[in-house]
Symmetry: C2
Subunit: 345 residues, 2 copies
């Protein structure tokens, strides 16, 4: 049976979700896919990088993380002060790196350095971090190819709901002409509640209390999170590297209850729609509120759900609706990427 | 560059659609996937099997088919009287068989014999024929594995809209607990029109005139087509071989305009729903009209569109909506299967 040594860099919600799945799914991976995963490395900004060739004790790691204790309390581990030093050191033993540090759309650090370092050493990389894919998908894909490594990022768009794999593999051979999607759960939750008659500020406060929105909601409500996903789709689906400022962007903060009610009265719904449209050789990219008729499959996607509609030459319109965030949902996307890598070797 | 010799058995709408795609997509296959397809064999019940190692002239074949002339008028071909004799003879040269003869739910012939013969000779098989998958998916999968061949049937469920690949590859690692779907376009077209106030018989006549329904609509309106797809999903997703009579089946012929109106008045829609539900170790299978609330993602799927909702442990509910029939739509599913085979070798 094949064995993969995995290191997880970033051990917050997503990293812990993946670790949990490695425990709950280990028998399934052996039986259905004929491989096993040894979680050998874990890194956080506070604890640095720990590594144990024979495998780390996942329940112990989750326990340490839950109590905010240093991960190097795990017995018998090698230790480096930073993730980067650890990746450089283990490159020769590590098979796969899961890069799940936080998204940064200015320079994609520290994720992009982690990914570059791993790929340069021939490690496969799976990631849920939107920064590197949004700012440098083409560069990183080329780097992966050069070193015979794979780079997969299913979880960056609609988390574990299969989108990138659906387009690239399920719809292999199709010529995609346009994509439209509800790619941010926080804003869709807010807009859905506003459609039920509530005010923006009231719903935002509630979403923050329920953990659907951050204390600083800018990245969501101003559309930056959806823009990041749009850039990833532009690169991976259309092969075009757009810059952040090439995406026309408008958030949901200025939508009034009156506008919402007017849309509903005319049989429509307002949704924050990310779109990519190929027009005469150029790719138009937008993230903005759009009034959709109820016949549009995206119009009825409510709450934190995400959805994407793919227009193409031979399949007309295909729509995928599913969850776009969550501990296990995002971990599942990483797991599917890991299985794809294992299957292809 | 890799080269695949393909034979298409059955040269009706679907077979011709695939042949058209082989022409329009040949550059794309070379550039994006680094392989080319030589259409070397074609068979029909009337013309028997023709084969030309160097490749057949696809425009000429389409021309002959359009004028209902014998395919053996194609110059320089080997000829056998039946598809089966042809497959037996070319087994040593042929790489992939596309089995696209008509669906037969009694004994799956002649498709199942074509597929068994091809797999036994180590040929990969792609198929849009629902009979063999519905009646013998487990047997055929085992046969494929024994001979190191692949058997793929994306187009049997929702045609080229990616469903089987989405579940098996995009959602790899997920434990599917239930599936519900609108898997028949003809009945969904009729029910959608009835929801707009029209009568069953009037809409059926119209659907027949537009080519959405057969002259004998039994397979669609009594639910047998959806049952076949349900059996395929039972086998490929749940690993359980059900018999036709184990699927509870009710068609749409007895639905009255009154029932339809009553459902609409209570904010619901009546849809023909195929479902598979795992309950305490047994798999319950049903195809029957169900009243769905408008909050259900399947409720608003209208016209000839198909849709499927997959419930699972780590992704909650994922829904895929797309076309479920058509010349190029079905051909595209076969093409995606062909690409998957090429990528995996």
């Amino acid at each position: 049976m094949k064995q993969f040594h995995l290191s997880i860099v970033g051990f917050g919600t997503v990293g812990q979700g993946l670790a949990e799945l490695l425990v709950s799914k280990q028998d399934m991976l052996r039986v259905n896919y004929d491989f096993e995963v040894v979680l050998a490395g874990v890194a956080t900004a506070h604890s640095g990088f720990i590594y144990r060739e024979e495998g780390l004790d996942i329940p112990l790691l989750l326990e340490l993380a839950a109590h905010r204790r240093p991960l190097q309390e795990h017995p018998e581990v090698k230790h480096w002060d930073t993730a980067l030093e650890g990746i450089e050191a283990i490159g020769q033993w590590g098979d796969v790196l899961a890069e799940v540090t936080g998204t940064n759309l200015r320079d994609a650090e520290p994720g992009i350095s982690h990914i570059r370092t791993a790929l340069s050493r021939g490690m496969h990389v799976i990631t849920a971090n939107k920064g590197p894919g949004a700012l440098a998908a083409a560069e990183l894909s080329a780097l992966a190819q050069k070193h015979g490594a794979q780079l997969r990022m299913e979880s960056t768009v609609m988390a574990g709901t299969p989108v990138l794999s659906t387009i690239r593999e399920g719809m292999a051979g199709v010529h995609v002409t346009a994509i439209r999607g509800i790619l941010n759960g926080t804003t869709n939750y807010i807009l859905s509640a506003m459609a039920a008659g509530r005010s923006y500020s009231e719903v935002l406060t509630e979403a923050q209390a329920q953990g659907y929105a951050e204390a600083d909601p800018t990245a969501d409500v101003e559309g930056y999170d959806a823009v990041a996903k749009t850039l990833i789709l532009a690169s991976l689906v259309f092969g075009q590297s757009l810059r952040l400022e090439q995406v026309v962007r408008q958030g949901i903060t200025t939508i009034t209850q009156e506008q919402m009610q007017k849309a509903i009265d005319s049989g429509k719904r307002i949704k924050l729609i990310a779109s990519l449209t190929q027009k005469e050789g150029t790719l138009e990219a937008q993230v903005e509120p759009v009034e959709l008729p109820l016949s549009d499959p995206l119009a009825r996607v409510d709450g934190v759900m995400n959805a994407i509609t793919i227009s193409s030459d031979s399949l007309a319109e295909v729509t995928v609706i599913g969850p776009g965030a969550g501990r296990l949902v995002t971990g599942q996307g990483l797991l599917a990427d890991l299985i794809a890598i294992a299957q292809s070797k």
